[in-house]
């Protein structure tokens, strides 16, 4: 009891004007702005797929891009909330990426059924996963760097969601530049690894977001 009182007195003596952390929506906007610029830069480097305009007339492809963007946005928003001890008291928004994921899963099933006769798979395979992971490195580093300035009480989940957002940025960039219509390839090498990446994110969150 006496120790607690002594501690409180010591902490109170340290009271100075505190620079407040940005609102989660501001953090979200910063990350989304960064993501858009980063995707544009990577596309400048790798180039858009030559048949992009034609492919944009396909509702399934267009919806896939929209959902990928949705995953990036909801994951970034979720991560921005998760860095606050109380999730900024917006718990429901934290789980919004789940909905986007479910919609993407449904879309992939529909696209798979619509892919008849199946489009030929590209000659490469794991290279896509590696390229996406490479593209995700910078956004992930930036997000984790920003998140370390806060105080997450859900650091496992925060790490997982942040890495998912970063990986989705890479996936969207590649989907706009790689000329392939094989949904099996896309599912296997672009989207399924997201699950593994989220698991790695749990560990990263535990390691990097401790405070």
């Amino acid at each position: 009891m006496k120790d607690v009182d002594t501690l409180i007195a010591a902490l109170a003596r340290e009271a100075r004007p505190v620079r407040q952390a940005p609102h989660p929506f501001v953090l979200f906007a910063q990350w989304m702005g960064g993501a858009v610029v980063y995707i544009a830069l990577t596309l400048l480097y790798s180039g858009l797929r030559p048949d992009l305009l034609a492919r944009l007339h396909s509702p399934l492809y267009l919806l896939e891009l929209v959902l990928l963007l949705g995953i990036i946005a909801t994951a970034a928003l979720s991560a921005a909330l998760l860095v606050f001890p109380d999730m900024h008291q917006k718990r429901r928004m934290v789980f919004s990426p789940v909905l986007m994921f479910a919609l993407l899963a449904v879309l992939i099933v529909i696209s798979w059924q619509a892919d008849s006769p199946p489009s030929p798979p590209p000659v490469h395979s794991v290279e896509c996963l590696l390229y996406i992971a490479f593209l995700a490195l910078l956004p992930a580093a930036w997000m984790f760097y920003s998140m370390r300035k806060f105080a997450s009480t859900h650091h496992y989940l925060a790490g997982s969601i942040a890495l998912l957002a970063a990986f989705s940025i890479g996936a969207l960039s590649l989907r706009l530049s790689e000329q392939t219509d094989s949904i099996l390839h896309v599912m296997q090498w672009h989207y399924l690894p997201m699950i593994g990446v989220s698991l790695i994110g749990l560990w990263l969150g535990k390691t990097l977001l401790k405070w």
């Binding site: 409180i8 407040q20 952390a21 609102h23 008291q89």
Partner: protein, 179 residues
């Protein structure tokens, strides 16, 4: 100090602006409402005080994540819960590493309390001086004949926690009886 929510938020807003008195009042009030929360979840008063200090330090460290606009208590409780879980995780992990099966504990004691020289009845006075939970566990296991698993089910604890509590009780008894 009423502890009304608006009062706490107002104190925190002042504290964030550098008001030392408001900050001190806020932390005192926070300690006041967190102490019962921790007491219900931990065994000893010293554990409660130790963890309370850790939580207050965490609140101090994370105060930049509070804007003074949303309710203060959920924010403070989120930090308290986080530190409590952290503490329990490391505490039980540590104790389980050193935990000894009940059957082995009897061998550790200089004399076997369950056999000739000591019976539950012969040392019941010492047992009664133990913390309530530990005394109950020993009574159930050695007087009423329940296993650790059955005790755990009856008093709503984990079996491992019952074993740890019993182990602690044996250690205390050992020290008392050897003296």
């Amino acid at each position: 100090m009423t502890g009304a929510p608006s009062k706490l938020e107002s104190l925190m807003r002042k504290a964030l602006a550098g008001d030392q008195q408001a900050y001190s009042a806020l932390l005192l009030e926070t300690a006041r409402f967190l102490r019962p929360f921790l007491s219900r979840r931990l065994n000893g008063a010293s554990e409660v005080e130790d963890l309370l200090q850790e939580i207050l330090l965490s609140i101090h460290k994370a105060r930049h994540t509070y804007d003074g606009q949303r309710p203060y208590k959920p924010w403070a409780f989120a930090i308290a819960q986080f530190r409590l879980l952290d503490y329990l995780r490391s505490h039980y992990a540590d104790h389980l590493r050193h935990a000894v099966e009940i059957s082995e504990v009897e061998n550790i004691l200089p004399e076997n309390v369950t056999e000739s020289s000591f019976t539950y009845e012969s040392i019941s006075a010492e047992i009664k001086q133990l913390p309530e939970k530990q005394a109950t566990i020993l009574q159930m296991m050695h007087q009423e004949g329940y296993t650790a698993k059955e005790v755990a089910e009856k008093i709503g604890m984990k079996e491992s926690a019952v074993k740890v509590a019993a182990h602690r009780a044996y250690k205390i008894l050992k020290e008392k009886l050897v003296r």
